[in-house]
């Protein structure tokens, strides 16, 4: 198995002095290509913090972060933006979709923003992805009118739009009922199997975690299991 990304000795401290919160304290982690991993740990243990660092949305206080041969600590905003667009997909718990756009428009955003316009081929791929997510009848639906589970499936489709190597999902099923949650997880597992996309999914739900082949537990700012 080839290595997709590697972080070493990650430290992340919020604030300074008395108010300083030391969230990550020398955390190291390696993810291989094609892995499907769950990120577990108590609330406040730093799961979201780790995901945003891995997603290049935030830099650690110190440590190294390499992915696909890129040193992502040294990279500047422009380079990181480009890198994220091509190699990383995100699924968040809340505020996932652009409210004034349809399901399809949301899905093709990552491609359109890179190409400067919405091409027919991007639209075709977006439609395919929505069909795969079981949303063939919701393609032109305004995103605000979708149910919570539908929104998360649109978000998964969007995360996959540019065929990224890594998809980071922060409690993607956190506010879904069990049926919808399982539906989303099934789709993720299917994509992981079919396309070899690496998934790292933070969750509090043991059931969800058990669907992943690997469980990573964080605590005290380190990987504990």
């Amino acid at each position: 198995m080839s290595v997709l990304l590697e972080v070493q000795d990650l430290f992340k401290t919020f604030g300074t002095g008395e108010a300083a919160t030391r969230v990550l304290r020398g955390l190291s982690l390696t993810l291989d290509v094609g892995e499907m991993a769950a990120l577990l740990g108590p609330s406040g243990s730093g799961k979201s913090t780790l995901l945003t660092i891995l997603g290049t949305l935030m830099k650690p206080t110190s440590g190294s972060h390499n992915m696909l041969g890129h040193d992502l600590i040294a990279a500047e905003d422009r380079e990181l933006t480009e890198f994220r667009n091509r190699h990383i997909g995100f699924v968040f718990q809340f505020h996932n979709l652009l409210p004034d756009f349809t399901a399809l428009e949301n899905v093709i955003f990552p491609t359109a923003v890179r190409e400067g316009r919405e091409t027919a081929s991007a639209r075709a791929r977006g439609r395919d992805l929505l069909v795969r997510m079981g949303l063939g009848d919701r393609v032109e639906f305004p995103s605000t009118k979708l149910s919570g589970g539908q929104k998360q499936r649109v978000a998964v489709a969007r995360a996959l739009m540019n065929s990224p190597e890594l998809v980071l999902a922060d409690e993607p099923t956190g506010n879904l009922d069990r049926v919808s949650a399982m539906q989303v997880m099934d789709l993720i597992a299917q994509i992981n199997r079919d396309e070899g996309t690496t998934f790292l999914i933070s969750t509090h739900d043991e059931k969800i975690a058990s669907l992943c082949r690997r469980q990573i537990v964080v605590g005290d700012g380190l990987v504990t299991g």
Binding site: L57, R84, H95, A112, V113
Partner: protein, 401 residues
């Protein structure tokens, strides 16, 4: 950037009520801008037409030249040259200049004149008058005599005289009566009253008479040439430049009306300044309105901006989206404000039909294009600050996970 335009358009159309309010705010500012432009422009036009409309735009007056003093090279001569007081300075070659001047671009009419002063007598009553001799057929070239006639006709024949209503009242004159006009040169002519005008200008109506150029030649002893050439232009603002051209062409001392109208120009200038001031405030209001609305919009859309940034939208893209949004609002507000302004100005009488008591609005001076352009530029400037704020949104805190 086509895609950023699509997103900006979507943002503008997404919240129709908010956009409508914002656009109407901008439109009101543009409306004020256009209204002020039309008012200030119309007012200036009105004042100029009332004050300068009836005067010569360029005047050539004969220069007093004294005869050369011939001094023999031998011996000493002590001489004092005194200005001749009885001679009338003339533009002797007027006849050759006239066609040349008439051919200059922008010249509407040329009126060669012989001017002087004299006494008008009717029985025992005498009035001092200034006499203008004009060519028959050119009576209305400078002053619109035809338009001011209240009795008789403006047409001057060889023994006819035309004078103002005030003078006619003072001397109890009636059309067709014969009058004696004695010039400052002591020449007397007997003339028939051919018409009475009323301009509303007291000095003019009470002290100026018009005779034919031929009569004036006899009265003032000017057998050839004229004493003054008055020129009317199509555009009185071109007077300075045209005067220079006539000067260069003929070598005559052509003077623009502006040389003697410093106070009027100052007043018009002050009025224009007031206009600029108000228009600037209208623009500032637009800029502040757009800036605050967009700032609010960027704040409200922080989570979305965070998502877009996470999905690979660069800072430049975010800036472009919000600046385009500002430009669209400016364009919509500008166009609707301009249309509103035009419609509001339609009922006002046209430039030539200004009536006393109404605002002399000039619909042609609304500066519609300028208003729209400045509004779009203003809106773009106004959106830079919010757009930069949007581009600096931290995706992590904005998404709030």
């Amino acid at each position: 950037m086509l895609y950023a335009l699509k997103i900006a358009t979507r943002y503008v159309t997404a919240n129709k009520v908010q956009t409508a309010l914002l656009v109407s705010g901008v439109a009101v500012g543009v409306f004020i801008f256009i209204f002020m432009s039309a008012l200030i422009g119309g007012l200036a036009e009105f004042i100029l037409s009332r004050t300068v409309g009836d005067i010569s735009h360029i005047t050539i007056e004969a220069e007093e030249t004294d005869p050369a003093v011939l001094i023999s090279p031998s011996g000493h001569v002590l001489s004092v040259v005194e200005r001749g007081r009885t001679r009338t300075a003339t533009l002797a070659e007027a006849a050759t200049w006239l066609p040349l001047i008439e051919a200059v671009g922008g010249v509407k009419a040329v009126s060669p004149q012989i001017n002087g002063s004299g006494f008008l007598a009717r029985g025992a009553q005498i009035a001092q008058v200034s006499v203008t001799g004009v060519e028959p057929g050119r009576e209305s070239a400078i002053l619109n005599l035809d338009g001011y006639m209240i009795e008789g006709s403006a047409r001057l024949g060889s023994d006819l005289i035309i004078l103002g209503s005030k003078l006619a009242d003072e001397l109890s004159l009636k059309l067709g009566q014969t009058l004696r006009l004695e010039s400052s040169k002591g020449v007397t002519a007997v003339l028939t009253l051919g018409g009475i005008y009323h301009t509303g200008n007291g000095g003019m109506d009470g002290g100026r008479v018009f005779v034919s150029l031929t009569s004036a030649r006899t009265l003032f002893g000017v057998p050839q040439g004229v004493t003054r050439i008055e020129i009317k232009l199509f555009d009185l603002n071109a007077a300075d430049a045209t005067a220079l051209r006539i000067r260069a062409l003929t070598g005559l001392d052509a003077e623009s009306w502006t040389a003697d109208a410093a106070q009027l120009m100052e007043a018009l200038n002050a009025q224009a300044q007031t206009g600029y001031f108000l228009k600037t405030f209208a623009l500032i209001t637009i800029v502040i309105g757009v800036a605050s609305a967009l700032l609010l919009s960027t704040y409200r859309r922080r989570p979305e901006i965070g998502i877009m940034r996470a999905m690979g939208a660069g800072r430049g893209f975010v800036i472009f989206v919000f600046v385009t949004q500002g430009a669209l609002i400016g364009l919509m507000g500008g166009v609707s404000g301009a249309a509103l302004g035009y419609l509001a100005l339609l009922p006002f009488p046209s430039r030539d039909a200004f009536k006393v008591g109404t605002l002399p609005m000039d619909i042609t001076q609304g500066s519609y294009g300028l208003a729209i352009t400045l509004t779009v530029i203003g809106a773009i400037l106004a959106s830079i600050l919010p757009a930069r704020a949007a581009a600096r949104v931290d995706p992590v805190t904005a998404i709030g996970q």
